[in-house]
């Protein structure tokens, strides 16, 4: 279904450039670790729970190891060496003792002890990964048993009350009303917490804290609803922010189905250190690959800050980079929910044709990826009637260009968190468009050399030019110079840098050993 007549040599060139721009960052990610990567390893290795102040034992344990031997060897060997010396078999108990200052950590010098620690760490981490594997099989079994979403695009709806016990009935109601995917928005500011809160939570700011227990509760509730509806309802959360690797692990352990996971979002929009982000991201994507989780990237965000026409090519560049990083980490095409959005100013002449051109370009560049199509937000003014019309046109572009995941737009965007009636009206809008025009893509072929084709070629050309500049400049320099959005993010600044370390010669990570 080649509708744009893209030149395959230009497309190939764009991918080559993305790989060249991305490779130095991959090398960096492979030679560094972070506190969150190490905590994720310990979570897989079986450390559970939190102290009486709510600080997770994984944080206490990593802090204790870092205080004694630093981060650069990885924590697995010091932890499992200490476990043997202390004669313990539960790593959580070790964490509790360590927090009380009763354990010293070191890297054993005797070869036998080193090998023993590595082996023990390997066994524990593998046991964690086996749970992730079982969850993946379980998902496949449930999809077979209950049936999958009845059509593409999958209908993606958000809940965000702040209280998991309010979220659950809302999510179940949304699924009954037609949602194929439920996303639970996180509390404002969680991305900047350097720990994952514990337990079921009932108060958040404009969203609900992502915790392992909240994941478990929501997944169990949606399993119940899936059974009732005869179709498997997917659950989404966020592997982003300072705890990205741990979120990926928790999602794998609790059978979440999709995770938001962008290569640059945290850097640009949350001022998280670039190296921290790239290291965390590679690990989290390796875990997602293993867990069979679909990632959703965040290119839509660029268009909320920059102009959606002028910056259209930055979306394409970011999609190509996200694709390269994802493939490198082991994700398959079906797991790449590459993002893009309907954010062109509706007052602009031909705005709808431009949207169509951009959406089709993404579709044709990534034919096997389930693209994530994001609704208008920037030009939603509070005029709910106009907003509903815009959402209808957004849905139409989604249907015409074969988008895989459609985040349902709300006419009350920027007014209130969606009411029950807003969601119902929004779903009615989606259903009307998909019923009435869901197969229109069969008839829709843009005129050769016409407006839509030309615009798509133009954007791809600009993307190639930008990639050339990034390759010359290096990606980290480009980010530091403010190439994406307008944010300047130097590699030696930003949050979370103090939790990054370069691998020592003897760095050992039992999880990446298996996943690499």
């Amino acid at each position: 279904m080649q509708k744009l007549g893209l030149d395959p040599t230009v497309v190939r060139r764009a991918r080559e450039l993305a790989a060249r721009a991305g490779q130095p960052v991959v090398d960096l990610a492979r030679s560094h670790t972070t506190v969150s990567v190490e905590r994720a390893v310990l979570r897989l290795a079986g450390v559970r729970g939190a102290d009486s102040d709510g600080i997770p034992w994984v944080n206490r344990l990593v802090d204790a190891v870092v205080a004694d031997v630093g981060l650069s060897h990885g924590v697995a060997v010091p932890v499992f060496d200490a476990l043997r010396r202390e004669g313990l078999d539960d790593v959580t108990v070790l964490a509790q003792k360590a927090a009380a200052g009763a354990v010293r950590f070191g890297v054993p010098e005797k070869k036998g002890e080193l090998t023993a620690a590595r082996r023990a760490a390997g066994r524990a981490a593998t046991a964690g990964l086996k749970v992730v594997d079982r969850r993946r099989v379980e998902r496949e079994r449930l999809i077979k048993r209950y049936g999958d979403a009845p059509r593409r695009p999958w209908i993606y709806l958000i809940v965000a009350t702040g209280d998991i016990f309010e979220d659950i009935p809302q999510a179940q109601a949304a699924a009954r009303a037609g949602a194929d995917v439920i996303a639970v928005i996180r509390s404002t500011g969680q991305s900047l917490l350097d720990y994952v809160p514990e337990g079921a939570t009932r108060e958040g700011f404009a969203g609900t804290y992502a915790t392992q227990e909240n994941f478990r509760l929501m997944r169990a509730a949606l399993d119940e609803t899936s059974r009732e509806l005869g179709r498997y309802v997917r659950l989404t959360n966020y592997a982003s922010g300072l705890c990205m690797p741990e979120m990926a692990v928790l999602a794998g352990l609790e059978r979440l189905d999709m995770m938001l996971n962008d290569s640059m979002y945290g850097i640009l929009f949350r001022d998280i250190n670039p190296i921290r982000t790239f290291v965390d991201q590679r690990f989290s994507r390796q875990v997602h690959a293993r867990a069979g989780i679909i990632i959703n990237t965040g290119e839509d965000n660029y268009l909320t800050t920059a102009d959606a026409v002028e910056a259209a090519h930055t979306v394409t560049v970011s999609q190509l980079l996200n694709e390269f990083f994802a493939h490198e980490a082991g994700l398959a095409d079906w797991q790449l929910g590459l993002g893009h959005a309907f954010e062109i100013n509706p007052e602009l002449p031909e705005s709808f044709r431009l949207e169509l051109a951009h959406a089709l370009l993404a579709r044709e560049l990534f034919p096997d990826a389930p693209l994530k199509w994001m609704p208008p937000t920037k030009h939603m003014t509070g005029d709910v009637f106009r907003g509903n019309l815009l959402d209808g046109f957004f849905n139409l572009v989604g249907a015409l260009t074969g988008q895989g995941i459609l985040l349902v737009g709300m006419m009350t965007e920027a007014v209130v968190t969606p009411w029950l009636s807003d969601r119902d009206i929004a779903l009615q809008n989606v259903r009307y468009v998909l019923n009435g025009a869901g197969n229109l893509h069969e008839d829709f072929v843009p005129a050769p050399g016409g407006f839509i084709q030309s615009r798509a070629h133009e954007v791809l050309g600009e993307a190639v030019e930008l990639l050339e500049r990034i390759v010359d400049d290096t990606l980290l320099e480009a980010i530091a110079d403010g190439t994406f959005g307008i944010m300047k993010r130097p590699a030696d600044r930003g949050k979370g840098l103090d939790g990054v370390a370069k691998h020592a010669e003897d760095y050992f990570n039992p999880v990446t050993e298996v996943l690499a």
Binding site: A173, R176, A177, T188, G189, L192, F205, L268, F269, R270, D271, T304, T305, T377, K378, M380, E413, A414, W419, L420, S421, D424, G485, I486, M487, K495
Partner: protein
Amino acid sequence: MTIVRPYGDTTGDGMVQVSFTLPLVHDKRAEGAAVQLANKMGLDPAMLVHAKPMGEGFTFFVVYGRVNHLVDTEKVQVVERDFPLLSAKEINAVIKRRLRRRLSVVGACIGTDAHTVGIDAILNVKGIAGEKGLEYYRELSVTNMGAQVSVPDLVETARAQKADAVLVSQVVTQRDAHLHNTRAMSAAFREAMPAGKRPLLIVGGPRFDELMAAELGVDRIFGRGTTPREVASYLVHALIGAPK
């Protein structure tokens, strides 16, 4: 004329349209309940034009009707913002044209307060409520020092960054910590820098009384629901003056 009524298609017809949801299963009684609510809202006669069941045990209604209330425009009271709300474009343009350099803003949570929600909502590009934070403004140079910043560090950074304005967020109010911290901060700036060289001091948080600025020694207090654009507009207003 100071007395007005809503306008449908004829002067004085008083016609309005409302929509709402009742937690009732859709039936005759639910429709009657919707009309009753509309009547109590002052719609008489009320025409129920649409009723649709939604989810389990809810019904959505659209009602048109003549509202019997009158509005006296003479009696309207509004609290006027004492500075104009500008768009991001206007803010950047004013700074560029009138200041001819980037306006420097330093932000922090001071004391033991670890809640960066407020300062991040105002400063991070991510922003809040669909509005981008101050980092998004091309002509603002933003330094976000994060949480648990000591007052001396804040003063030092403000000096180093040649801050035009210092933004401090305080969420925790235990034992009036937000008031003590703010007073300590403003006193430190008064001590460290002569008047006229001092940056504009702004505090924000959900529990501040916006009228206490003078008492706390700051130039401005922003309360709950403040957006980045309001802060940016205020900065331009206070530091540069009206756009010309």
